[in-house]
Symmetry: C2
Subunit: 309 residues, 2 copies
């Protein structure tokens, strides 16, 4: 059986979420799809200084370069889309833009000028090296995996939403399954924003933004993740453990939402009520800052494998 | 040479920070001191239900049960106290109190009743087991290591401060060195608040609060940690890497302070300016929530060993 392959071209690329974009592929649940993606910024090639060179498909006002959307047969609002990352292989180059935007965060850190790091990515060696000779380990994942809001019209790709999008969670590496509540019939799933490596927080505003040479995702449908509870926020099972994600206008709000969902996970896994789940969470769950880069901030809670036995 | 030993008794126990508490021990820089500590709550023994039984030295209004203070010869404000944790061994029992206080955090999580978990600690096996049969891995550290504010009078032990105190950072395990700016002549260092295990965030309000059977700390004095920069916030070198700590009235403020200090670390280690340090931090540094339990919130940034080569 051949894996369907989605290449980034005029027919598949889009720079917003919109439920009325026609699907470019329809699949049955359980299908593995192979994606290639541009970097988030629609770059035509490695950054070589000066203006960013973009592909012809880019137009002003577009957000991340997304590939898709894919319609999943039988997907309905209220169900769960399970996105299993089987393989995630970056391209040969990437770029980090730091301090480029006049955000409160950058102002607070006293960042007056922007820095641009241009990285060569060596997949066999597992490292990326910038123009100053710094090298870092690869840990590739997709920054954007998501579906359009139920409301019609074009929606920015920048803020992450309860049905996914620009989550930028560093734990979503190969071997992870991301569970997302489905907002629209058919799911209409799109991806992009390859990150070759990123720390918790994405504090510079970007990661190592890179094209992805090959991303194999298996798209499943589930009624629920835990028991018969309706999923309302992004949850993932990753090599680092169960991950629950909170989103908010500030970190306090995002942190509370992430922990709220983690109490559900602990409750489901260990059959305990919320206060007992909170006692366990304080001992074994890790609350980490996902990103401060995307207007809506993210915090995630991690429950490492075997943390409670 | 004999290691000086500080036992918790009427002469060494105190429930506040106060620069005018007489030191119970004076040491030269480089001295290793062995501490025994009570649990944070002055408990006389394991929690067996009902009212907490406390030692006779406890009086109403006291905070964490601290052992000390120790005067370090030659310590002056503006210098750095280096606290190297050589060995950290918990006692045989601990307690977790979750949702016990009417905080905004608990209200947001819908925690209506408190949970108390009573843990048996098995040091040889490396685990703690609660009354429900849940077991978790030990990862012991001291929640409170600090010095009194320069301002005279009694100061609460609850909020962490730039010169240490109730930091509750889970990375401060054996093998770590914590660097603290010294606020007062002689440093007047005290410790307490043993934690047998705690997640990032200490989201339940407490960790596994336990007495410490033996904590060996080596107290050093340094003019600076990096170059000739004056240290102004807690920084540590831990098995997880360099850790910088931010404190604030909310998580956004704490996060910015932690990252501000991490940019200094990256600048010192790799000879880069702030914008380039921010670009690297976005790729390799991890911003994590230290605690939401101590009135003043904590966020720390972690730079794993060898993250940038």
């Amino acid at each position: 059986m051949t894996i369907p392959v989605l290449e980034p071209h005029a027919g598949t690329l889009h720079g917003w979420f919109d439920r009325d974009l026609p699907p470019v592929l329809t699949v049955d649940p359980g299908t593995t799809v192979r994606f290639r993606t541009l970097d988030s910024g629609w770059s035509a090639g490695p950054h070589t200084g000066g203006e960013r060179r973009r592909v012809a498909e880019h137009a002003p006002g577009m957000g991340h370069a997304l590939t898709g959307p894919i319609r999943v047969r039988g997907a309905r609002p209220g169900m769960v889309l399970a996105v299993r990352a089987d393989d995630v292989v970056p391209g040969t180059w990437g770029t980090t833009y730091a301090g480029a935007r006049p955000t409160a965060w950058n102002a607070r850190l006293g960042i007056a000028t922007a820095a641009v790091h241009s990285w060569e990515i060596d997949v066999p060696a597992g490292i990326a090296r910038n123009q100053y000779g710094h090298s870092v380990a690869l840990r590739p994942f997709l920054g954007v995996m998501g579906m359009p809001p139920a409301e019609p019209g074009r929606h920015s790709t920048v803020p992450p939403r309860w049905h996914g999008g620009n989550l930028d969670c560093r734990e979503l590496v190969a071997g992870s399954t991301l569970y997302l509540p489905i907002p629209v019939d058919g799911a209409l799933f799109s991806v992009g924003d390859g990150h070759a490596a990123q720390g918790d927080g994405e504090v510079g505003g970007t990661a190592i933004e890179c094209p992805m040479e090959r991303v194999d995702l298996t798209l499943g449908l589930l009624p629920h993740v835990f028991g018969d509870r309706t999923l309302t926020t992004p949850v993932a099972r990753t090599p680092a453990g169960w991950v629950t994600m909170g989103l908010g206008d500030d970190l306090d709000e995002a942190a509370a939402d992430a922990m709220d969902a983690m109490l559900d996970v602990l409750g489901a896994l260990h059959g305990v009520g919320r206060a007992d789940a909170l006692a366990l969470a304080g001992v074994v769950a890790d609350l980490r800052i996902t990103q401060v880069a995307n207007q809506t901030f993210g915090v995630h809670a991690v429950l490492p494998p075997g943390a409670v036995r």
